[in-house]
Symmetry: C2
Subunit: 720 residues, 2 copies
Amino acid sequence: MLQETPNPNPDLSLLCLPRTVAMVGASDDPASIGGRALINLMQHSAFDGELMLVNPKREQVAGMRCWPDVASLPLTPDVVMISVPAAHVNGVLRQCAARGVHFAIVFSSGFGETGAEGQRLEAEMRSIAAGSDLRIYGPNCPGLCNINERVGFTFSPSFPHDLRRGPVGLATQGGGLGRNVLQAMDRGLGVGLWCSSGNEVDLQVSDFIAHMADAADIEVIVTLIEGIKDGRKFIRAVQRAAANGKPVVALKVGRSAYGQRAALSHTGSITGAAEVNSALFKQLGVIEVDDIDELADMAALLARARPPLRARQVAVYCSSGGASALTADMIGLAGIGLASFDAATTQVLAENLPSYAALGNPVDTTTATLTDDRLIDKTLLAVCCDPNVSLVLMPVTIDYGDVTVKVAESVVRVQAQSPVPIVPVWMSSRLGDGHRIYAEAGLVPVASVGKAVKTVKRWLDHGVWLAARAADAGSLPFEPLLLRMRARDEPGPARTLNEYEGKALLRRAGIAVPDSGVARTPDEALQLAERIGYPVVAKVVSAGITHKFDVGGVALDLANGEQLLDAWERIHHAVSRAMPGVPIDGLLIEAMAPSGGVETLVGVSRDAVFGPVLTFGLGGIHVELFRDVARRVLPLSRSEAAAMVREIRAFPLLDGLRGRPLADVPALIELLLKVSGFVAAHPGQIDEMDLNPVWVGRLGQGARPLDAVVVGRFGAKPLA
Amino acid sequence: MLQETPNPNPDLSLLCLPRTVAMVGASDDPASIGGRALINLMQHSAFDGELMLVNPKREQVAGMRCWPDVASLPLTPDVVMISVPAAHVNGVLRQCAARGVHFAIVFSSGFGETGAEGQRLEAEMRSIAAGSDLRIYGPNCPGLCNINERVGFTFSPSFPHDLRRGPVGLATQGGGLGRNVLQAMDRGLGVGLWCSSGNEVDLQVSDFIAHMADAADIEVIVTLIEGIKDGRKFIRAVQRAAANGKPVVALKVGRSAYGQRAALSHTGSITGAAEVNSALFKQLGVIEVDDIDELADMAALLARARPPLRARQVAVYCSSGGASALTADMIGLAGIGLASFDAATTQVLAENLPSYAALGNPVDTTTATLTDDRLIDKTLLAVCCDPNVSLVLMPVTIDYGDVTVKVAESVVRVQAQSPVPIVPVWMSSRLGDGHRIYAEAGLVPVASVGKAVKTVKRWLDHGVWLAARAADAGSLPFEPLLLRMRARDEPGPARTLNEYEGKALLRRAGIAVPDSGVARTPDEALQLAERIGYPVVAKVVSAGITHKFDVGGVALDLANGEQLLDAWERIHHAVSRAMPGVPIDGLLIEAMAPSGGVETLVGVSRDAVFGPVLTFGLGGIHVELFRDVARRVLPLSRSEAAAMVREIRAFPLLDGLRGRPLADVPALIELLLKVSGFVAAHPGQIDEMDLNPVWVGRLGQGARPLDAVVVGRFGAKPLA
């Protein structure tokens, strides 16, 4: 499942801004792909490199000489654009490889997305790339737009309409959704570079994230992904972005079964487990959004201002009392704090606004600011400069035409002097000139209060992540186990260890498990219990039985030998009835956990894209009914382990809720770290662990797995 | 707290379309309120009734004669508009009342929203209305727009710009948010009547909902509320709308503490408990939305088509594979079903779309439909006509200019023949001519996939409500207890019954409680236990102790007399230590519930706006950590009681989750109904009930409260 491409971080500078370009399939027909790509490059781009055309059937296209093939070109191009039919593409690519071309952009479709023959062609294409220095972009892609340099290698007729420069880099798979993000330019979003990698036979979204992480003109990276093909590459790319101080905003399709199926049919992408994706995004500081318009909202705000690391409170400034109440309401529901103003701020508001205005936060200026926009210059600036305010949300309730234009002009003036971003919320369906003024000034109005509040919340949350990361400075950056795992799994079939084997393994890893032994006879059981000390637990040991409880295979709290012998009989009787013919290897006799304590669950699974993942939660119904779990891609740092425990909604049960004793959270954190370390020590070997329940005693009593299922590839020899 | 106005359902027809109107404060100054209102009525309205002007300082205004006061008018106006300063308003209102005017619209502000003097003026205003036939609209309001008749009694300069007629009635308190909804006309929303009742000294939002429920030209009612002043009136109004087949869509501000505070400062509204509002909305079929743009989205869809009562599945039709995957994904996350197409539909798709198109649901037509829009006429219509499809979502990913216009024209053509609504999702920030074509045809494009999916989900859910309501036909409609409660509460102070009194009350109401008695001596305790049968429970009885467990006042599972006597000592010792000096009245000796069973919680509280409310959930942490409860305004019907039990996320614990025994859900439902009946039998008396835990045994074992706190006004005599 784990796929890795040979050269993890190719230098894509020449792809994004080549000196020499050839177009194979050049055409005069403006309705053809080759024709449109030519128009975009020759008429709408500021490309000042060398352009060469290839078309064996024509002497000239667009007044330029045509060469019969790549081999005969007078210069070796940095980039070759290809728009010939699918069947001819690989022939062209071979010529490119032979000629030493650096990059091929394959517009043509008719590959993996169409079936078996297309998939065969893609496999061939992949081997051409692997066997040469040629890197392939596409196929089935709309091309690449370097907007900051105004150069488009694309056949999209929309190219000349979406050219607002800016610090946002956009890396998508599909072309339609990518172009949709570009059209947020009409709200003022500036995009410097758009890469849309189509079927990704070679170059992937992650390669472009990595490129943008280093690109001088890109400050915020936006990505839209159906499937992450190479987990390692993605992790390295976003960590590089974070190291260079560039936030990554992501929309990941495939969070429901319908979405997964549709993505598979669209780009053949396996979407991966949504919960694992989201957990990894959180760990790496990737800001995940729910809808495509939220990508632009989020990127625009990040491009305007990085979130504060502390004092994360906002202000609302509005001329409608109703809209300010609505906005404050949604801010409250989102758990964002409204700043308390300093006295100086309140004084400026009081001196300039009518007596019936609301001077607190939210500020309801009343319509006074509609009739006299100079009031905005004074009062909005005061709010922006208040030291407690990190951002000002400004709901624009109604498009009043000229009045709204004047307001917008004032806000733009104030923004120029403001230390914090002002986010206009254009609430109306009417997009008049006021909207244009906000957009042109780069204030990127958000289209609804709800979307604006979501964006602000994510922005503030990213500040929390940045602060935690800054606090971790000096310690090593997070390096997922996947990066250390061998590309191939340990050979041999996976097997499920029985409880005793599993616990022995845990004990050797330094994880405290209850004292125990396997008894094959009643006498052995009594001897074991004497050694361990009553009360004890007895559990059936059988390779054929996974759910011991369900077949009557468990007896708890056995206080003495009499009860133990009684349990021996009961268990054998019940198991034989429930599963006739299944051999019983004996009973596991184990120390009973002290009464009280909280039962939790610790699981490890292996994600096909990101490797080992740890899940923590309270046992039983908390997981099953409420899905109240915390997840992290392994390994865990101490602070991550502590955060996981505190992240579940049921945490108060461990933390003294309503007079409960404090649970041994330090021991639980230690256990999580040891499980993580155990998996790390055996990369590629552990497929699955299910420690359920993990008993957590009172502070000082410790935490230990009472049951353990371990599945892995241990080969013939036992684990060290 | 419960406020009731004298005439619950005034006939507002004359207010919305009067024959004679007077304007007090008429002015030639177009910047003044009186001047703008005159321009709106004379220049922009199609008003063909009689207009008279009042201004004691002027002989003429706008070329029309001015009268010095209302008394001297030649005719008695149906409606008088008032824009004089606050201090003079009540004088004018008295003249109106004396003259027999039906309605006064008070534009003027400076009343309750400004402080004590304004509140005094409002009280005076209220008494003028109460002592006459004059009904007052406002003050501090923008007026009223009867758009279907093109008549505006409003000073808003926006009036002439927002005149798209339609079947939606809009009732708001604040003017700004109301006007915002009107501007959704730019997306194609048609609004027939907008009432914005400002400070609501007399006429309230509910009066207008009731009016719209009867108005022939209104089919869908939209309301935006900061505070519901009169719960009875609101309930009657929305039930009238439901009876007349008109859905009500509501946005209620004040769901967070910030929102509540802001609403109070804006219109002086007490917002009420959000959970109770939402519960009542659900019971009455009021469709609650989260954001103001969602009001227009929802109303537009309902105005176009009522939701299906069965076969609630949808289709997605799109020319972008990425957008169709994204939309399918969000549909899956929302729990909506994608329809499976009939073979005939698939055949049409296969015959007309390219081989690489996705013919399932979502349909990805590929860009073939962009180059040949006739394909849309065939294939989209086939999808619309599929018998399994209730609605078609059509994401429009990108604004391609002319191409998008052609697509929109095709869609509008198909819609004209389609039996189900097509909902375009205009995903781009660029609003080109294609958007206008959808809007003009009344297809009201939604602005994001997320918002569209939310709207469709609510639409389908409303179909579920309608189906349940249809199934209930023949049974009485839901009549909240509030409607039967006396306006005044039972006199006397509330008191908290002790557990024994409380349970006695429940027993008399037919609710099974464990057999019990109060023992004042150890001997009495032994006798009681003998009679009840061991095992028993002992609990301290003391007026001064509410949390018996916390002070060591409870002993469970006492198996014999010895253990009981031991418990007697222990409890007395523990309670005396924990609460020295608090008198102990004895111990409650009670039958112990059989082991097993599930502990639940049943509570009754009294909402200031809507009366008694019942809360059901699993006890303890389910409520505290997960807020996993169901709420209903009382009384409960049998189907509501059953729905409540099934609504909580923890329901599987009662329903055999993982081999658990089935709980006695029928007995639990019976108990809920009896609690409801008990409260109904004592309207105004019960302030609060807390039955926690309510033990629910296995099927056949019954359900009974193990503890009960009842707070109420029982006067001197015991309850019957």
